[in-house]
């Protein structure tokens, strides 16, 4: 039965989905490659956001609460650059495997402490959402 609460919830779900979906989609007339470029651009924007967060947290004084180690920062750097290459491959060839491989490697290598940092966690969530949209892989957690 369609209650007011269900209508509000379904509207909220539609709003969230369509906001993300509309931000991903170009008007008709653009090629598939342009569509992939739009998606790749979104991913790279989120990866840049993650990069800024991690670099800023790494810049905290040593022994500060919330500081990200140099080792973990290098891991995020490797992920960012690998994703950048992966996006190039995805746009040119339609193959998202490089993006997925970079994400898997990040999940394996990044320390638990860094993963639970609220700022890093939020930035990772934005990145993983974009990767899910591109790859259709529902569960990117390990």
């Amino acid at each position: 039965m369609l209650t007011r609460r269900r209508v509000r919830m379904s509207s909220l779900v539609c709003l969230m989905f369509l906001t993300v979906a509309c931000a991903q989609k170009l008007p008709p007339g653009y090629s598939a490659q342009a569509q992939r470029a739009m998606e790749g651009h979104q991913i790279l924007q989120e990866v840049m956001g993650l990069s800024r967060v991690v670099i800023n947290l790494n810049a905290l004084p040593p022994n500060s609460v919330g500081r990200i180690s140099d080792d973990d920062t290098r891991i995020v750097r490797d992920f960012a650059l690998a994703t950048s290459d992966g996006v190039g491959r995805y746009v040119d060839l339609g193959a998202p495997d490089g993006i997925l491989a970079a994400w898997t490697s990040l999940q394996q290598r990044l320390s638990a402490n860094t993963k639970i940092s609220p700022q890093v966690k939020a930035a990772l969530a934005l990145v993983s959402t974009q990767i899910q949209i591109i790859t259709g892989v529902k569960d990117l957690t390990q």
């Binding site: 509207s11 509309c22 342009a34 470029a37 790279l44 990069s51 960012a80």
Partner: protein, 66 residues
Amino acid sequence: MNTVLQLLNIEQAAMPGILMLLSIIKAHHNATGQIPSEQQILAAIPVDQQTLKTMWDGWTAAHPQT
């Protein structure tokens, strides 16, 4: 009547996303006088890649691995 209400709700929910997309295109149109071309969209990727590389090159130079 319920179907009409459901459709109106969906349209209401979709409107922010549609308006956002239209505003992005309009902003580009205002800035350049043109709707982004295929080439402009494709050209954004190497720019993003270079920005990312520059960001990390700076950090790597400041943090040599011991």
